[in-house]
């Protein structure tokens, strides 16, 4: 009898020890989870997007579409050239602009502009877009992503800082194509 009592008491202590470790584990898991989730949660504090200049307006002649580059607003010192992002600027008529993301709306490859046929073509899976960014053919489900823009002191500014992707968050910025 005594021996089985002993076992029960030791067994109970072992269980208590396990529960104790469970508490410690949870206490450690919370900060670890928050650390891992920081790429997702960080934007609540700062926001990834900000207004960035693409340079003076005279770099973008009326009626033409030109490549422009900018430095991503959120940068680490070791990002190197990956923080330099390209985009296509279309000066519609001297007053109205469209700024398209370089990334194809299918799977993100860099689209190229062909002024002769007024088409954007993607080298990966053959997506094509008209000069206004709308879908012309191929696998993309939608037109090119557009950045909101504004003009300040003869400079073209866009609101950018995030890789555009065809998922739900990107479709929000599609609605913003009218705010340009």
């Amino acid at each position: 009898m005594t021996s089985s009592n002993d076992v029960t008491r030791r067994g109970f202590l072992a269980k208590v020890a396990l529960v104790f470790n469970g508490f410690v584990g949870v206490a450690l898991a919370v900060p670890i989870f928050r650390y891992l989730a920081s790429p997702v949660t960080r934007e609540r504090n700062v926001g990834n997007n900000s207004w960035l200049t693409l340079g003076p307006l005279d770099k973008f002649p009326a009626g033409e579409t030109r490549l422009a580059t900018y430095r991503n607003p959120m940068v680490n010192a070791w990002d190197g050239e990956t923080a330099d992002i390209a985009c296509w600027v279309r000066n519609v008529d001297g007053k109205k602009f469209q700024v398209f993301a370089i990334n194809c709306a299918h799977l993100g490859c860099p689209v190229r502009w062909f002024p002769q046929s007024s088409l954007f073509m993607c080298p990966c899976h053959g997506g094509a877009y008209y000069q206004d960014g709308s879908r012309a053919s191929g696998p993309p489900e939608r037109g090119l992503f557009e950045y909101p823009y504004k003009i300040e002191r003869a400079n073209l500014l866009i609101h950018a800082g995030e890789l555009p992707t065809p998922g739900p968050s990107a479709s929000k910025s599609k609605g913003c194509s009218s705010c340009g």
Binding site: P39, S137, S169
Partner: protein
């Protein structure tokens, strides 16, 4: 010698490993399994160890920083003695490992080795297959060049399509809002710590189970697996006609592993390391990104899916595939093992091999992509320009200058995105050609806004000349009747 023996005894008294190692070496295996068909699993293990060693050698120099990784690979390739060779060994080792793992899986499947009681061995094997693909993908990212950069963009674009969680998944994958330093760091952690750790664990369990349950006997037609009797029958078999694992079976494993390592070294010497390609600078857009060969079939699939079906298929099909593989030993856990009595199994392998082979071939040639420089680099064949009117010549110029050639081939040169136009006049009447050019459709952009009426007329006149000499171009029958009525 006596001293050696005493030292050995000293260690074994403490380690106590001598007995279990002797048991493993002497355990009987069915005589027929001492076969060249049974060498692929051990070869996969050998290559894995080889990858660990060459990986550590590369880590002595490689810098996992977005700003420096590409330069450190250049240093390895060009400045460090035989750095190119170690990179080539690791790169070719990766290809050989995937190939051998897949061959091993096919052999195990066709030999019915996944059946009772080896279900869990098979399931851990599926995990090992997925982890091996994970190593290949993350390794391709560490070769931080243009293909790696845009490949990450493709990964992010696919992740973003997951309902609700998509945007969060993209940021978790990239470690931030864009592909940058944080992205490379986390892929480095996956490639060097997380996935190899899991691989070591699962390889250990996988091999342990092979030793505990015994290697799968040679499948004989008519020898049926039954849960109630299999284990007893297997032990009777090994007791009756078993041979010791060492040396009867293992010598073939050792020979084959050595041969594979030699083949890797030969490929490394003769064909050299993989890349790196262009710098990972996203402002250099003159690039046609492509994944490594073992992912080309996925790349090809992505170009063939209908836009509306793409998201569900991308997200659901891989899950179904993995679940089917994991459940296989549960709905086919008993019965015939021999491929001679399992025609569906053989058919599945043939269909899978042909499909993956075809898709990989297409992925190498990407017929769905426009040839970006065909309009300036590929001339129209001269026989299509002889004895033509000035207007038709003008149309040929429009064909080139408006980049029609990027998607349509003439004389076999140019894009394969759209149909080849060598005989287009036989298929379409002049009116249909005008309509197709102006309105597009059938996956062709509309050129109405971008061609003047004069250009359209000239282009269609040129296209009307594209028919075989002895074959009349297509005509609108109603127009012919209307014209004869007038006379």
């Amino acid at each position: 010698m006596r001293l050696m023996g005493r030292v050995g005894e000293w260690f074994d008294q403490r380690l106590q490993l001598g007995r279990p190692i002797r048991d493993v070496m002497q355990h009987p295996v069915p005589r027929e399994t001492a076969s060249w068909w049974y060498v692929f699993g051990s070869a996969a293990l050998t290559i894995f160890l080889f990858q660990v060693v060459t990986g550590i050698l590369l880590a002595l120099v490689y810098v996992p920083s977005a700003g420096e990784a590409w330069n450190s690979l250049q240093t390895l390739n060009h400045q460090i003695t035989l750095g190119w060779f170690i990179r080539a060994l690791h790169g070719w080792g990766s290809n050989f490992m995937l190939a051998i793992v897949i061959i091993h899986m096919v052999q195990v499947f066709l030999f019915g080795a996944f059946k009772f009681p080896r279900e869990l061995t098979w399931i851990f094997g599926i995990f090992l297959l997925l982890l091996t693909f994970g190593m290949a993908f993350t390794g391709q990212v560490l070769r931080f060049d243009q293909d790696a950069y845009w490949g990450l963009g493709i990964g992010a674009s696919i992740s973003s399509r997951v309902p609700i969680l998509g945007p969060a998944l993209v940021k978790l994958l990239l470690g931030g809002p864009i592909i940058a330093g944080a992205t490379l760091s986390r892929f480095f952690a996956l490639h060097v710590f997380v996935i190899p750790g899991l691989l070591i664990g699962f390889v250990g369990l996988h091999v342990l189970m092979v030793l505990k349950l015994g290697v799968n006997e040679w499948p004989m037609p008519g020898r049926i697996v039954r849960r109630a009797t299999y284990v007893r029958e297997y032990h009777e078999l090994t007791a009756k006609e078993g041979v010791p694992f060492v040396p009867n079976a293992i010598w073939k494993d050792i020979v084959f592993s050595g041969f594979i390592l030699l083949a890797i070294a030969a490929c490394a010497v003769l064909l050299g390391p993989f890349g790196p390609g262009g710098q990972p600078d996203p402002t250099i857009i003159q690039t046609a990104p492509k994944p490594d060969s073992f992912f080309l079939w996925i790349y090809a699939v992505l170009s063939f899916l209908a836009p509306s079906a793409e998201t569900p298929i991308l997200l659901i099909a891989p899950l179904i595939g993995i679940v089917v593989l994991l459940l296989l030993p549960f709905f086919a856990g008993e019965g015939e093992k021999s491929w001679k009595r399992r025609p569906i199994a053989v058919l599945v392998i043939l269909v899978a091999a042909v499909s993956l082979g075809t898709l990989t071939h297409l992925g190498q040639h990407t017929p769905w992509s426009p040839v970006m420089d065909a309009w300036s680099g590929e001339p129209i064949p001269s026989e299509y320009l002889k004895n033509r009117t000035p207007l038709e010549h003008q149309g040929a110029l429009v064909f080139q200058s408006k980049q029609c050639h990027n998607c349509h081939s003439l004389g076999g040169e140019g894009g394969k995105r759209g149909p080849e136009l060598d005989q287009v006049a036989v298929r379409l009447t002049p009116d249909q050609l005008v309509r197709q050019v102006i309105q597009g459709g059938g996956n062709m952009p509309a050129y109405g806004k971008n061609l003047s009426p004069a250009e359209t007329t000239a282009l269609v006149k040129f296209l009307e000349t594209l028919h075989p000499a002895g074959q009349a171009p297509a005509q609108d029958a109603s127009r012919a009747i209307a014209e004869t009525d007038q006379h």
